[in-house]
């Protein structure tokens, strides 16, 4: 029997790969210098480790090391990219475009830019979670300066057509930012081919440490940004602050491993994900959220209709998963991503995101399949709605009395 709870929440965060932790430890012990110290060996040693890690991050996405700027994580990368570019290019126009299903780090930054006088379009996605390219093209205006579209969605795992979007943007001189926090190690990224100007990365979604990320800033054609954190002029002035050497080394190693192992790892994870999906497919009134094939192999997002979301989470607490509700303050709100796909609130609340990863085993998947069968069955037995559905009542015609 596997250890409980079974971790199936790799899109929230991943464990640090032990090989990564091993690389980090020397920089938490004897190699403690400040990489900005120019007057002694301790500083140079730290600086060269930072340089080597920068090369590794660049290699995973086929970029130049000079195009990589360290940040404290993808949230900061997204903030830096969007505010930095919007402010720098504000003389050219004030219109920005993104999708309704982007991460909060993009959406909240867009809201902030709107308060500062920019105008934003939040595009709907199709039922499968993918952007409609025609709609995207139609939304572009002569004063559009910046577009932001994530490569892989954090909730439903769908892969957006960023190559096509990049073409549309480049033709019009629009800066194109891509949040790739959920993408590294899950699909190949070739920035020499893609017409992407800015790309955000995170370490802790790819078996590296928390608290470190990076922003790719294209050099040819050159993309300019206004820095958002000022000080000692680290990172060629793009981002000041002492570099956390051990975290950077960890990100470098995590991205190196991702480059070397991505193909074989993804094949293995796809088999497990498909096994999970197939194993659950005989459960009635089950819906898959997001495009069935245009998605990363790690993600399975399912709605279990006629099951109350909170009770379901309690019942399957042996599985560490995310639900279709966002816990904001005291209230439970249905996921805005699932709502953007047109899912009813009820169905969004009864959704589970399973995200698999490097350490997921077949035994864990089989345990999850059995547990879900048992618990969903039990919860539905208690559900008056389910009883009505079984009796053939069309719930959409039912008049509910207000309490």
């Amino acid at each position: 029997m596997p250890n409980l709870p079974i971790y199936l929440d790799y899109s929230a965060t991943t464990p640090i790969d032990p090989r990564v932790a091993e690389k980090m430890i020397p920089y938490l012990t004897e190699k403690f210098g400040n990489p900005a110290s120019r007057s002694h060996h301790f500083g140079w040693e730290a600086e060269s480790a930072v340089d080597a890690a920068r090369e590794e991050v660049a290699k995973l996405v086929n970029a130049d090391a000079k195009e990589i700027v360290w940040t404290s994580g993808a949230t900061e990368s997204n903030n830096l990219a969007l505010k930095g570019a919007a402010h720098f290019y504000s003389g050219k126009g004030r219109h920005l475009i993104t999708l309704k299903t982007e991460h909060k780090a993009v959406l909240d930054t867009f809201r902030e830019l709107e308060r500062q006088g920019f105008e934003a379009t939040y595009l709907d996605v199709q039922e499968d979670g993918l952007v409609d390219l025609a709609a995207f093209k139609a939304a572009l205006r002569p004063d559009t300066i910046l577009a932001s579209v994530m490569l892989v969605n954090n909730e439903i795992g769908v892969i957006q057509p960023i190559a096509e979007i990049g073409e549309l943007c480049r033709e019009r001189g629009i800066i194109f930012h891509v949040d790739a926090a959920q993408a590294t190690g899950k699909l190949p990224i070739d920035l020499a081919q893609l017409k992407v100007d800015l790309m955000s990365f995170s370490a802790h979604k790819t078996y590296g440490p928390k608290g470190i990320g990076a922003l790719y800033i294209r050099r040819k054609p050159r993309v300019r940004l206004e820095a958002q954190m000022h000080g000692g002029g680290h990172e060629r002035g793009f981002r000041s602050g002492t570099l956390a050497t051990h975290q950077i080394v960890g990100m470098g190693e995590a991205f190196r491993l991702a480059r070397l192992e991505m193909d074989s790892e993804n094949a293995r994870i796809r088999v497990l994900r498909d096994r999970l999906h197939k194993g659950l497919s005989d459960i009635e009134a089950l819906y898959l959220n997001g495009h069935p094939t245009q998605r990363v192999p790690h993600n399975l997002n399912l709605s279990f209709a006629y099951v109350e979301g909170e009770s379901m989470l309690m019942a399957i607490k042996d599985l560490a998963v995310s639900s279709g509700s966002a816990c904001t303050s005291a209230s439970l709100e249905p996921s805005y991503v699932l709502r953007a796909l047109g899912r009813e609130d009820e169905l969004a609340h009864s959704s589970i995101r399973f995200t698999l990863g490097r350490f997921t085993t077949e035994a864990e998947i089989d345990y999850a399949i059995a547990l879900l069968h048992q618990k969903i069955g039990k919860l539905r037995e208690l559900s008056p709605l389910w009883e009505m559905v079984q009796e053939g009542v069309d719930l959409s015609t039912v008049q509910w009395a207000a309490h």
């Binding site: 929230a12 060996h41 993808a74 991460h103 909240d108 928390k210 000080g231 002492t242 570099l243 975290q247």
Partner: protein, 389 residues
Amino acid sequence: MFNPVYFDHNASSPLDPAVLCAMLPYLSEQFGNASSRHEYGRAARRALDEAREQVAQAVGAQPSEIVFTSGGSEANNLFIKGVSATYKPGLLAVSAIEHPCVIKPAEQLLKRGWMLRQLPVDRSGRVEPNQYQAVMAQRPQLVSVMYANNETGVLQAVETLASAAKAVGAVFHTDAVQALGKVALDFRQLNAAGVQAMSLSAHKIGGPKGIGALVLDKRLSLEAQIAGGGHERGLRSGTENIAAIVGFGLACQRATEQLSAQAQHLLTLRQQLESGLDKLGMILFSQDAERLPNTVYFACPDIEGETLVAQLDRAGFAVASGAACSSANPEPSHVLRAMGVAAEQARGAVRISLSGQAHCANNAAQIEQFLSTLSATRLKLQRLNAMAV
């Protein structure tokens, strides 16, 4: 084996092994995201809460007054930009000797219509009280004066300065990155005097790099500078760096516990070092000011600081020239220039910053060895200089 002596603790200090031990579980099996609702997430949340209490306790603050950031630079940026955003553009005053991560954000406000006054310092590096009062009379909205300077170690009369700022309704902030763990900090007492915000960093006190905090009076409104998800009560978004936060919490606790025990040891070492430097004819900066017990700043007449530190590095001593925190900057230290030190002399500046913390404490033998190496190095460089002429 070549085992250099590390005299650059103000740049970054080695991690306390006890802190590393506390961090390791969060770099391995305790990997949850503190925002997750399952057990992995809740365990991370508990660790986060505990560390917040440790940091708060170490500086006499409430846990709810601590906002974690990626370090001291971010904390300073967050204060200057975040608080100024809630005001109509007005007057901002920062001391002339602030770290660049206060001065540069302050300069950014000029673009938004703010006026900036640099508060001058005297020859020893203390904020000049009369000129400070004159600026206060112009009713600034924001004032920032660092608690202890990273180069000279000079301590400012923060409570007095804050009271004067409070009297004219200004919000007062202090960058306490270099003071934490070296002198006692009591945010309750500082807050009563008028300090409403204080920046901290972990990696100068035996904690990890990549983590710091802004201690914030809750009555002060502040606009977040990193949006997205509403972490840290909406003041700083981004997945919490649990391992580093846990390390920061324990480092704060241990550094403050050791504080009084190490103060005397550091003062003795500083005395030994300064009298030795004096005998060698070195120019000592800020010697008559109240200073951190660990910092000594001096210049060797006729020898470039860069050249000297390079030679000292080869001889096995890691020291800093000017401010080690900023990237390659050929300009003489802005701190010394503000003190009225001639550019030529400022270029010769060398900073020694010691540690008294048990895991990396410097000792008298190292100081003695350093003084004799310095003496020999100087002779060698003087001879080279003479030949060049």
